[in-house]
């Protein structure tokens, strides 16, 4: 069996060798929603071998879709501007319902896959945790941990929570009750960590995007090693919805990258620009060859051939199309773009045309898709 090549960055990218399905984890929930029309032969075999019944029409699970958003314009500490900010959930009317506290500083949110009542948010103060679905919150990171950038829960060890922040990485092994810095292998300087993601296939396998590159741990952050050196901060990491060996990353100075071997080695998407910072990347749960990048300078960059070619998809976005984040709704493949100083924009045709959404004046810091029933939370931050 060969793994799919649906988003190879270059034609010479080595394909994965024969795999054993027993090694693969349960697929992410959005897999169940894919249509056969997008399957390539290799992928089809994978599906046939392991998940025929799900592809053949068993009722798809529902999803919850969240954003972390700031609705304040020009808020600074001390400002008397008061609006509602923080986590919002897509509701049945396609509106956004505020969840939890008003906090202007949330950068990401993660959920305990065993219990959706357990929520973690990364914020200016550190990591906030709720054990009751957002009704009450507690912060157990101390003063040393500030300006948190990202948070992730290990789906195979859900008591383990990883926090990326401006001065490194902190880890909790007791559901956010206590925290410790785990930075062995990270550089003394250059460990500004913008993004952190847990490999959903194995416990304790985590990738961190730092100032000086991508770092990988296989033992719950006991030891990190650099797997990609960069000239500037790695802004985002994502694991494929369709094949967990495949990861993508975007950076400040080095463009976009992909790995087909679980993040062990990386190759650059050769046609993605490197001249300006790329803020985030999202992978379409409904169509494996579709990826999209959000960027202040470039707006929306999209590919529908697994990264071989990329197009700017900014027609219909207001000028200047300074895009803070892009996200993809998991059930529909609907593309969303948060444009700075504007609002949220939506596209039904993967960025060819755009319409205004709600949330005037908002800045979305993270789009989060969470299967309603089980499995892991997944983020397109």
């Amino acid at each position: 069996m060969r793994y799919p090549s649906h988003f190879l960055p270059a034609s010479d990218f080595p394909l994965g060798g024969p795999g054993r399905l027993a090694e693969l984890p349960p697929p992410p929930a959005p897999f169940y929603r894919m249509t056969t029309s997008v399957f390539r032969p290799g992928y089809w075999r994978l599906a046939l071998t392991g998940l025929v019944s799900t592809v053949s029409g068993v009722a798809a699970p529902a999803y919850d879709f969240f954003i972390c958003a700031t609705l304040n314009r020009n808020y600074v500490v001390g400002s008397k501007i008061v609006t509602t900010n923080g986590v919002f959930q897509r509701d049945a009317t396609q509106g956004w319902a505020h969840v939890g506290y008003n906090d202007t500083t949330l950068s990401a949110v993660a959920f305990d896959p065993r219990d959706r009542q357990v929520i973690y948010t990364s914020a200016l103060n550190g990591c906030w945790r709720s054990l009751d679905g957002g009704r009450t919150w507690q912060i157990n990171t101390g003063w040393e941990i500030t300006e948190a950038r990202d948070v992730a829960v290990d789906p195979h060890a859900p008591d383990h929570v990883y926090l990326a922040f401006v001065n490194g990485v902190a880890v909790s092994t007791d559901r956010g009750q206590t925290w410790a810095r785990r930075e062995k292998g990270l550089p003394d300087r250059g460990k500004y960590t913008q993004t952190i993601k847990v490999d959903r296939t194995r416990a304790g396998r985590v990738l961190a995007g730092c100032e000086l590159g991508i770092y990988l741990t296989k033992d719950g952050a006991q030891r990190w090693k650099r797997v990609l050196a960069t000239r500037g901060t790695v802004n985002e990491l994502q694991q494929s919805w369709h094949d967990p060996k495949i990861w993508v990353a975007v950076t400040q100075n080095d463009g976009a990258w992909a790995s087909q071997d679980n993040g062990e080695s990386w190759k650059q998407f050769p046609t993605v620009p490197t001249s300006e910072a790329l803020y985030n990347i999202a992978m379409d749960p409904t169509q494996p060859q579709r990826l999209v990048i959000g960027s202040w300078a470039h707006g929306v960059l999209a590919t529908e051939d697994g990264g071989k070619t990329w197009q700017a998809r900014n027609a219909g976005l207001p000028e200047p199309h300074q895009v803070w984040r892009v996200g993809i709704e998991p059930t529909t493949g609907r593309l969303l773009a948060s444009v700075v100083g504007q609002t949220l924009f939506a596209s039904e045709d993967f960025g060819r045309t755009w319409t205004r959404e709600a949330l005037d004046g908002s800045r979305v810091n993270a789009f989060i898709t969470v299967p309603r029933a089980h499995t892991t939370a997944s983020k397109e931050k």
């Binding site: 001390g78 507690q138 003063w143 950038r149 300087r189 100032e211 300006e276």
Partner: protein, 630 residues
């Protein structure tokens, strides 16, 4: 006669604020040193009373309408026992929409402690409830953290045994206190070993002094009370030693455009007025300043600090060690050392630092400032800078992307940040050396830099500005003679000023900028007292006669014999040399001068003035007056 009515109206308008803020618009304070301790105390309490009365009085602070009173107005009325029931009602209203951060927290702490025996049970409960339900943002600067943790600490001492579900943090009173104490102890250790990060701030000095006063006044834990007291003395001592006639001089880790050019117009002047009585307070007592007055009766600067500020027998050099703001990226060190020099004379002060980027936006690196009989409205300063604006520098200190913050900060209280003609900020391409009243600033700006120029500030209050054929520009400021030597060609433009952090328009206040659009560049400034020369011409002649060699290629370099006879050699990228000796920053003390002395990492500051001596020992947590024990 018909012209008198408008004149009378103008006078009335002028008198109105005079009644409202007597010392702001009143005559200059007497420079007399108050010898009698009781008289000093009375005068200090009178100044506190003036502020409290002004906020509590019928004259306008913000509003006459009790329904619109802010927390300060409620606190002032509580102190004066005015309409206590109305205060309680207003507190309940105010707590319906609590704020979100340290600038809400510390006023609320002041309210809670001032009102603990005065406010109704419902009003006190409303404050308590707000601290349960409103998430407080800690901020991202050193002063934010100090305000946040002092406030958290004191509120959790006021309600010492509450469970986690009673606090927005979700943690118990004991846990909150422990975290706050840990941070504050760490900050104090850092400040007393290698210096403050936000050193000599023109405004943020209040964001330290006010919470520290609260800690000294209200902390139950004697250790924290003592820590508050030591740090209050420590920061007031720094303020005393770096002011001339109550006006803060020299470099500032953080300041703003207004205080850079009108040095008196700063929160620091409010504290000089309160503690030393030697300069008027700024308008509205710098707004936040009133919170110090509310608890100020529990503190008074010791005589030794008072005298350092007001009673000086001669010129002095003060060297201080500070540090930069914490760097998250693009740096081999978390914070870099800052080596600061101040030279104080009766007629002027010269101050500078070496060490690079103290803060990405609001730093002021060096200046020569002169004394004026009344500094209000006077732009008593001369300096140059490279107007640097850079995403990379912002990213060094902030969790931000490269593009948005440059423009964003111009809408967030720092409007000039991305302007080529700005007068505030530091640059990675500026290196400065000072020896007494000589400053050499060298610039090596790379091609492609956003603003390839340097700006020299020439005040509206300079007199007899003369562009001499020798290349020197001579001027008089107060009783100081000034010589400014640009090392590259230049042109003049009007200086246009943002009147406040949120101003959209700029105003021409009469000053000029010397703009020199050359990448390799430099400035030499020499100051002297008018009393040292028979006349201005003699000063100019003396300056023309000083040996000076300069070159700009391949890097800027100056050899200059100063007015004080020192042979200074300074090349960009190399250590300055004075009289053949390299400057050694490796031995730079935490404080060194006639009044403040402390070894690096010592945590022990010795304050001296004449026979007076006080030792602030932040390690032993002691304050000791008198001579060393044998």
């Amino acid at each position: 006669m018909k012209h008198l009515l408008p004149l009378a109206c103008l006078l009335l308008c002028a008198l109105a604020p005079l009644r409202a803020q007597p010392s702001f618009s009143g005559p200059m304070p007497s420079p007399r040193v108050v010898e009698d301790a009781a008289e000093r105390r009375r005068a200090y309490l009178a100044r506190l009373d003036e502020e409290i009365d002004w906020v509590a009085g019928d004259t306008k602070y913000r509003t006459d309408d009790p329904a619109n009173f802010d927390i300060a107005e409620v606190v002032a009325r509580l102190i004066r026992r005015q309409d206590v029931d109305g205060c309680s009602r207003r507190v309940i209203e105010l707590m319906q929409q609590p704020g979100t951060g340290p600038f809400w927290m510390f006023p609320t702490v002041c309210l809670a402690y001032t009102g603990r025996d005065l406010l109704s049970a419902e009003a006190r409960a409303s404050i308590r409830q707000a601290w349960r339900t409103s998430r407080q943002i800690r901020g991202d600067t050193e002063n934010h953290f100090v305000m946040y943790y002092v406030s958290l600490y004191l509120m959790n001492e006021l309600y010492p045994d509450d469970a986690g579900d009673q606090w927005y943090t979700g943690r118990s009173s004991a846990e909150n206190r422990a975290e706050a104490k840990a941070y504050l102890t760490n900050w104090m250790d850092l400040a007393t070993t290698v210096g403050q990060g936000e050193f000599n701030p023109t405004h943020y000095v209040g964001e330290y002094l006010i919470p520290l006063l609260f800690l000294k006044t209200w902390a139950r834990d004697p250790e924290m009370r003592q820590r508050g007291h030591i740090m209050l003395d420590w920061i007031f001592a720094e303020l005393a030693s770096t002011t001339l006639n109550g006006v803060l001089r020299g470099p500032n880790a953080r300041t703003d455009e207004g205080s850079v050019i009108e040095r008196w117009n700063a929160m620091a002047s409010h504290f000089s007025w309160l503690a030393f009585g030697n300069t008027p307070p700024p308008a509205a007592y710098a707004i936040w300043g009133v919170y110090f007055a509310f608890a100020g009766a529990s503190y008074e600067v010791p005589e030794v600090i008072y005298r350092i500020a007001v009673d000086r027998s001669g010129d002095y050099v003060q060297r201080d060690h500070k540090r930069t703001r914490r760097r998250w990226r693009y740096s081999d060190v978390e914070w870099a050392p800052i080596y600061k020099t101040s030279y104080m004379r009766r007629d002027y002060a010269v101050g500078s630092y070496q060490g690079g980027l103290a803060d990405p936006i609001q730093t002021h690196v060096w200046d020569v400032t002169w004394a004026e009989p009344d500094p209000r409205g006077k732009h008593t300063t001369m300096f140059s800078l490279h107007p640097h604006s850079s995403p990379r520098v912002l990213q060094t200190y902030f969790a931000t992307y490269p593009e948005p913050m440059v423009k964003a900060v111009t809408f967030e209280g720092k409007p000039s940040y991305d302007s080529p003609d700005k007068v505030m900020g530091c640059s990675p391409y500026e290196q400065v050396f000072q020896d007494l009243d000589t400053v050499v600033a060298l610039y090596h700006i790379p091609a492609g830099e956003r603003f390839p120029q340097i700006n020299g500030f020439f005040s509206k209050d300079l007199r007899d500005v003369t562009e001499d054929a020798s290349g020197w520009i001579f001027a008089r400021g107060g009783n100081a003679y000034l010589a400014y030597r640009p090392l590259a060609p230049y042109r003049w433009i009007p200086y246009l000023h943002f009147n406040s952090g949120w101003a959209k328009q700029r105003r021409d206040l009469g000053g000029r900028l010397l703009v020199s659009e050359h990448l390799r560049n430099g400035t030499i400034v020499q100051a002297a007292s008018a009393s040292e020369f028979p006349n201005f011409e003699a000063f100019q002649s003396a300056m023309r006669a000083l040996p000076l060699e300069s070159r700009l290629d391949p890097v800027p370099s100056v050899k200059f014999t100063t007015l004080r006879g020192k042979a200074v050699s300074f090349t960009y990228g190399k250590a300055p040399v004075v009289n053949g000796r390299k400057l050694d920053t490796g031995t730079w003390p935490l404080f060194e001068g006639p009044y403040l002395n402390a070894g690096l990492n010592s945590r022990r500051l010795v304050l001296t003035h004449g026979n007076l001596r006080r030792v602030l020992d932040a390690a032993a947590l002691t304050i000791t007056d008198g001579p060393d024990k044998p």
